[in-house]
Each structure stands twice: as C-alpha cells, then as structure tokens.
C-alpha cells in the first residue's frame, strides 16, 4: 500500500490535477461575475440564468456530458466553430475533460460567492463611492475582498467537484489513458474489472490525499481572512 506510485498512477494524478486546476481557473472569474450579478441585480431573465447555472447539479452527469457533446462535439455548432477558427478539439482531449469539470463545478462556485456578496453591508460600498471610487473600483477594492471567504469556499467546492467528476467527463471526453483518464475515471475502470479492487483502493487513497491537502490550504486561507477582520 505504501509502495511507490506506478507511472500509470502518477499520470492519472497529474492529469486530474491539471484538469481540475484548469477547470477552476476557467470558472472562477465568470463565477465571481455571476455571483455578483445574481446578488445585486434584478432583471427579466434572472431565473433562466440561475436555472442554466444549476442544471449540471440536477441532471445526471452523463446527460450533461451528452449535452456538451452535442454542443462542443466535432459536429456540434460550437465545436465546429472552435475547430475551424482555432483548430481546437475538445472531445478526447484533456481540455474537454476540463470543460466538463468546469461545467459541473460552476454552480458550486457561484452559490457561495453570491451568498458572500449578499452578506456585504451595502453601506461599505456607499462609503467607497463617496471617497471617489467608481463602481468597478468599488467592486475590486471593497466588494471582492469582503467576499473572499465566499470565493475560497466556492473554489474549494469547485475544485473538489472538478477533481471528482466522472460521469460528464467519460461521456464527453472518453477514458483515454494519459489524455482523459482522470483519477475518478481510472477508479471506475479498475472497479469494473474483476479483481480491480486493490488498484481502485490505491487510486482512491490518492484522491483523498489530494482533497485533504486542498482542505488544509483553504482552511489556512480562511483562518487568515477571518482573523484580519477581528
């Protein structure tokens, strides 16, 4: 059990880290914007935006993968455009796994951010305005820093979900060893083999270790943020 990692395991691990990090990076800025808009604005299609964001949570991941395939696949409208314009292919590519993970993670990143923005005392933003800060600066210098705990929470949930995602990934990106075979996919595959329990167990432990590390990091950041305000 404490045997060194096989090259296959290392491959799955680094791929998973890459996929989850890319997903989180890609998702965090739009999520912050969405969280802010949902917390502060009222507009006609708000419920639709909310519904779109949360769909990946309600639908089985396999269905999300199918939708992605229909839209971003080689014959899908967006997929075709991406291919033609940038020569980018998502399906069977680690970037595709990252897109799937990002979509699945999005609702989990947006919610805590929205909650954090809603909790901000609007008086503080008013104070910033009377000091001359235009709205964008108020957002960057006051709202966003005050929403930091939400950002951290959202990032943790999002990273964890991206790291653990499996249903949408296999459907959209396949299970190609070294390219799209993330840790969870590898675990699933091992479990489908009679006698694959040992391998699955080792991979699961790897997942757990990563998640514990991510937790530690977030806890440390969180504690700092809270202490600053006390």
């Amino acid at each position: 059990m404490i045997a060194p990692l096989s090259s296959f395991e290392i491959e799955a691990l680094t791929l998973s880290l890459r996929v989850a990090s890319a997903a989180l990076l890609g998702v965090i800025v739009p999520a912050a914007a969405l969280g802010w808009v949902l917390a502060r604005k009222r507009f006609a299609g708000k419920w639709l935006v909310e519904a779109m964001i949360n769909l990946p949570l309600v639908l089985p991941p396999v269905v999300v993968g199918l939708v992605l395939l229909t839209v971003f696949g080689a014959r899908g409208p967006v997929g075709r455009a991406l291919e033609a314009m940038f020569g980018v292919t998502l399906a069977f590519h680690w970037t595709g796994a990252a897109v799937a993970a990002a979509v699945m993670a999005l609702p989990l990143v947006v919610r805590p951010l929205r909650l954090a923005f809603e909790a901000i005392d609007p008086h503080l933003e008013q104070a910033a305005a009377t000091l001359g800060a235009p709205p964008w600066q108020v957002f960057v210098r006051v709202s966003l820093p005050l929403a930091m705990p939400g950002l951290v929470s959202g990032a943790l949930l999002g990273f964890a979900r991206a790291f653990g995602e499996f249903g949408a990934t296999i459907t959209f990106a396949g299970a190609i060893s070294g390219e799209t075979q993330t840790l969870p996919v590898a675990i699933y595959i091992a479990l489908q083999r009679a006698g694959g329990e040992g391998a699955a167990f080792r991979l699961a432990i790897l997942s757990i270790v990563i998640s514990v590390v991510a937790l530690f990091v977030t806890e440390a950041i969180n504690r700092r943020l809270l202490e600053r305000r006390r």
Binding site: D121, H123, L124, Q126, A127, A128, A129, T130, L131, G132, A133, P134, P135, Q137, V138, R141, V142, P145, L146, M148, R228, R229, R230
Partner: protein, 210 residues
C-alpha cells in the same frame, strides 16, 4: 459668489423630506431632533438616495440638478461624507482605510497628515476592529478629509469624544476650513461645535425647515 444653495425632496417609506436652503455662507449646520431627517438630507446630497430630487449649487456652481439630468453618481460628485456610524472597511488597516480615496483625488493629503488632523498619528497598521469607538469615528473623519472633497458632509463626527479632544478636532477642522475654504455641512447637537465651525444654522423638524 460664495454660499450653499440646495433643495432636496426625498422619501423613506412614511417619512417625507422637503428642504430648501439658501445660505450666503458656505459652512452650514443642520440641527434638529432625532428622526428629523438630517441624515436623510445628507445622503441625498451625497448621491446615496436613488430616487431623491436634488438641486445643489456650491459657491454659485451647480453640482447637482436631477431635474436637468445633471446627476453625477456618488463617486463623481466630489462630496465627502463622514457617516454617523463610522463604516470603516474591515478588511483594510486603518492606514489603508484613510488612504482609500487618494487615487481618485487630484491633490490628496498624505495619510500621515490626515491621521494627524484627528490625533491618530501612529495608528496606520491597526485593524479597525481593534479601535475604540471614538478612535474609529476619528479614523472615518480622516478618511473623508484626505481626498480634499469640494463639499464635506459631517454627520455627528464628534460624538463620544471628551471635551478636550473635541476642542482639538474642531480646531483642526476649523484651520483646514480656513486654509482651503472647503464648504461643509455639519450635523451636530453640540452648540459649541456648531458655533465654532459654521456661520449659518438650519433647524429641521419632521422633514421641513423651521
């Protein structure tokens, strides 16, 4: 032509404010009982009351006239505001709080200068939460002074301070006013401050001038 000239109409649910003031002086005190509408008035002038009707001219220059669409948002009015309830940014040090407006101002004071005006020299690195009530209020005053606004609104800036310090602060503010000629509107219940800092007193009751 020096002076303050404004008309403000604003509603907060049941409460209605309708105030017109024309003062030759550019330093003005607003007095009145608790709930008379003083804070509501200042908020409308600062651009923080979205549906208020406001006309404001400072020293003959029109700053706001919502009827003609001259309605700059709060951040573009150049109106400084010391809130009745502090409102320091909890995520920033005292120094960063005070320096907040520096980058939007044409000729801001230095942080040290502003802190000295309120007797808080050396408090730069303190966290807002660690301040006493009076210290926090003074830090908020310094923060509003630093950008040298073209009009300064002060909502009870000296409450909870001992007489000695109060006198020092009003003295500092008086000097600042005399040197820079910044117009100011002060809400206060203390006759001494009112007398020392302003030339014209307006009393509000139930949202009207009496």
């Amino acid at each position: 032509m020096s002076g303050l000239d404004f008309r403000v109409r604003a509603r907060r649910d049941d409460f209605e404010l309708d105030v017109q003031v024309q003062a030759a002086s550019s330093t003005l005190a607003i007095v009145g009982r608790s709930g008379a509408g003083k804070t509501t008035l200042l908020q409308a002038l600062a651009g923080l009351a979205p549906r208020a009707e406001v006309r404001l001219a400072v020293d003959g220059r029109a700053v706001v006239d919502t009827a003609t669409r001259l309605d700059p948002p709060a951040h573009a009015r150049g109106v400084g505001y010391v809130f009745q309830d502090g409102r320091l940014f909890p995520h920033l040090s005292v120094g960063a709080n005070v320096a907040f407006g520096a980058r939007y101002a044409a000729a801001p004071m230095s942080t040290a200068e502003a802190l000295a005006l309120v007797d808080l020299a050396g408090f730069e690195d303190r966290r807002p939460r660690s301040l006493s009530g009076g210290e926090a209020r003074r830090a908020a005053l310094a923060r509003a002074l630093l950008p040298r606004p073209r009009l300064l609104l002060l909502d009870e800036p000296f409450t909870g301070l001992d007489d000695e310090r109060r006198a020092r602060l009003t003295g500092n503010l008086q000097r600042l006013r005399d040197e820079t000629g910044v117009p100011l509107i002060l809400v206060s219940h203390d006759a001494r401050d009112v007398e020392q800092l302003t030339d014209h007193v307006v009393e509000l009751r139930d949202g009207r001038v009496v």
